[in-house]
Amino acid sequence: MSSVEELSNSVTEYLEEDGVEEVNTAEEAEMENEEPVRGGYIFYRERKEWADLEPVPQDDGPNPVVKIAYSEKFTDVFDMFRALLKNDEKSERAFALTAEAIELNAANYTVWHYRRVLLQALDKDLREEMKYITDIIEDQPKNYQVWHHRRMVVEWLKDPSEELRFVAEILSQDAKNYHAWQHRQWVMQEYKLWDGELEYVEELLEEDVRNNSAWNQRHFVISHTSGYSDSAILEREVQYTLKQIKKAPHNESAWNYLNGILQDGGLSSYPGLLEQVTELQDTCSSPYLTAFLIDLYEDALETNRSSYDQQETLDKALELCKFLAEEKDTIRREYWNYVSRSLQNTYGSGEPVSSSQQPDMEPSDP
């Protein structure tokens, strides 16, 4: 479950940058290049200060790599990296080499491990390391290793003071970066930095009201600060959410949020909610609104809400299910038919309804 999705893109970058040559083995590469220098860059295997180390070629087990297509620089750096690892060398030159290795392949977790070992063994300046990891993340923000590395440095420094600003900067480039949001949540919880976050979330939602990460963050902040049990807070949130829905009715996140915060109390018990949502139907209709109404009616049926006529409510709910299954959300017809059957079986007065299409049944366990 690594971020392989990014792999294809990074491969293309490397191929474009390094101008890949056709050589069959590293030895042949050396023979073909009379000088070990290309464009001013000196390979590690040719550097006097590295002459004491024997580069360790890649031994990848099955399907050994036939060194046809990839960059000599890559081989050179990683052969030397393996040599350092093998000798467990803890030196400045090793530390410098980890930066080269990271530049070539920032997803290689072993290089990051080694760099952290060296940071501690050499007692390196962690403020410098923060600058370094900031640059790396800005370049490659969708990588587990870089974010975990940053977290470790922050923990060692015990200094979160730059974090919220930094994460905001990364989010300004991609407001849904999952790693960035995890880091932000960790910083806030660990160092109790809740102030101003609700305002920040609102800014993000102003920019993109469909940003699911921001809605999640809203829930996170409020859950950890005021909570939702205060009716004034709950009302504020309900009204805020309805306002956003009016701006963009087809917004799953907003509807999920509304549903989520009202779950405990029960949708049908919330004063004025049915009226407000029904009012939206003319101008802001969406499958989500219809689904919300169904949920509300179901809650009324379940709680036997006195202000609702049971039969009428059931009929309305069933009508909406049919509307979604047959017209407005046909891709999910199986789900809406299921809801319809469940409602009929639970609250209907007639015979239990069976499904027209049998769901996938697993053979029962022996």
């Binding site: 999640n216 999920n256 769901p359 996938d360 049944m361």
Partner: protein, 331 residues
């Protein structure tokens, strides 16, 4: 503003039949051809890469084309003194690659090629006070690792060594207001994490703790007009979500809530007719990761040319039957 939906459009000339032979050829040749650079670049996940390749080959009935002996030797060389297994030689051990190694050895019925007791110790040692699991000694916490831990131990028949109550408690604390799960408590619901958590709850016999209707609805909402599935709201579809979302739905007994025909046509459109393999979405570059999950997704959808796949372990059902593992599924 408005009702723009983030999605792809499948071109009329996109592939619409399953090209199994091409995929088998693609995987069999992977790593020995000219696209070596990508192979080298992905050394840090090699163990998982091998697991993806072998599993999809086995699902296609082509496992014999892979080099069993070399792979087993390779895995042996990747087990460290602490018991953990690394992605490749010269890399550090990690739970992700420990699971992949155990999955591979299970496919090959050669689990004793490694020191099983040490693997068990390694996994046990990664459990934290709060029940969560770190990925390795550096302490990254993620529900992915909770899944890796119990899946590994289940395959080895050693689930009893961990603190089960705490492990379950931690995963449940990652359940969100929308019924989904994230990587840590409070993290946004994400289909990949949901797969890990439902898989975890299946293995640990705790599926009754899931709100199956709520989660099932969130999952079937991943289906876009193109038929493809995304991983969270307002994101593009990706063929790997055909696995993460579909397997989760299968585990909670609601796979029929997806429009199967539309998803099937999306998955098939992600094939590359020339090179074989599947890409994340139609027209992109293929890789083994997406190839496995495209084929596994089709298996879950009932394609009879492919072996049945287990939705919890993403391994052929016949392998799990041989081991005697039948994780719970809701119906």
């Amino acid at each position: 503003m408005g009702t723009q939906v983030k999605d792809v459009v499948i071109k009329p000339d996109a592939p619409h039949t399953l090209l199994l032979d091409k995929h088998a050829d693609y995987i069999a040749a992977y790593g020995s051809k000219k696209d070596d650079y990508e192979y080298t670049l992905s050394e840090y996940l090699r163990m998982s890469g091998i697991y993806w390749g072998l599993t999809v080959m086995d699902l296609m009935g082509q496992l014999s084309r892979m080099n069993r002996e070399e792979i087993i030797e390779f895995i042996k060389s990747c087990q460290h003194d602490c018991g953990g297994i690394s992605a490749s030689t010269g890399h550090d051990p990690h739970l992700l690659y420990t699971l992949s190694a155990v999955q591979i050895l299970s496919l090959y019925d050669s689990i004793n090629a490694i020191d099983v007791d040490k693997v068990v110790d390694y996994v046990k040692g990664l459990q934290q006070e709060d029940g969560s699991f770190a990925g390795d000694k550096w302490g990254e916490i993620d529900t992915r690792f909770s899944f890796c831990a119990v899946a590994t131990l289940a395959l080895l028949g050693k689930l009893d060594v961990i603190n089960m109550d705490k492990a379950v408690g931690f995963v449940l604390s990652c359940m969100n207001f929308d019924g989904g799960f994230g990587c840590r408590p409070g993290s946004e619901s994400h289909a990949g994490q949901i797969y890990c958590c439902t898989g975890f709850l299946s293995i640990t016999g705790q599926l009754h703790q899931v709100n199956a209707d709520l989660l099932g609805w969130w999952l079937c909402e991943r289906q876009l007009p193109s038929g493809g599935l995304n991983g969270r709201p307002e994101k593009l579809p990706d063929v790997c979500y055909s696995w993460w979302v579909l397997a989760s739905l299968k585990i909670i007994g609601r796979i029929h809530w997806i429009d199967k025909a539309k998803l099937c046509s999306f998955i098939l459109a992600c094939q590359d007719e020339e090179t074989g393999g599947f890409a994340d979405r139609p027209g992109d570059v293929v890789d083994p990761f997406h190839t496995l999950f495209g084929v596994a997704g089709l298996s879950l959808l009932g394609d009879e040319q492919i072996k049945p796949v287990n939705p919890v372990f993403c391994m052929p059902e016949d392998v799990l039957q041989r081991i005697g593992l039948q994780p719970d599924l809701l119906n």
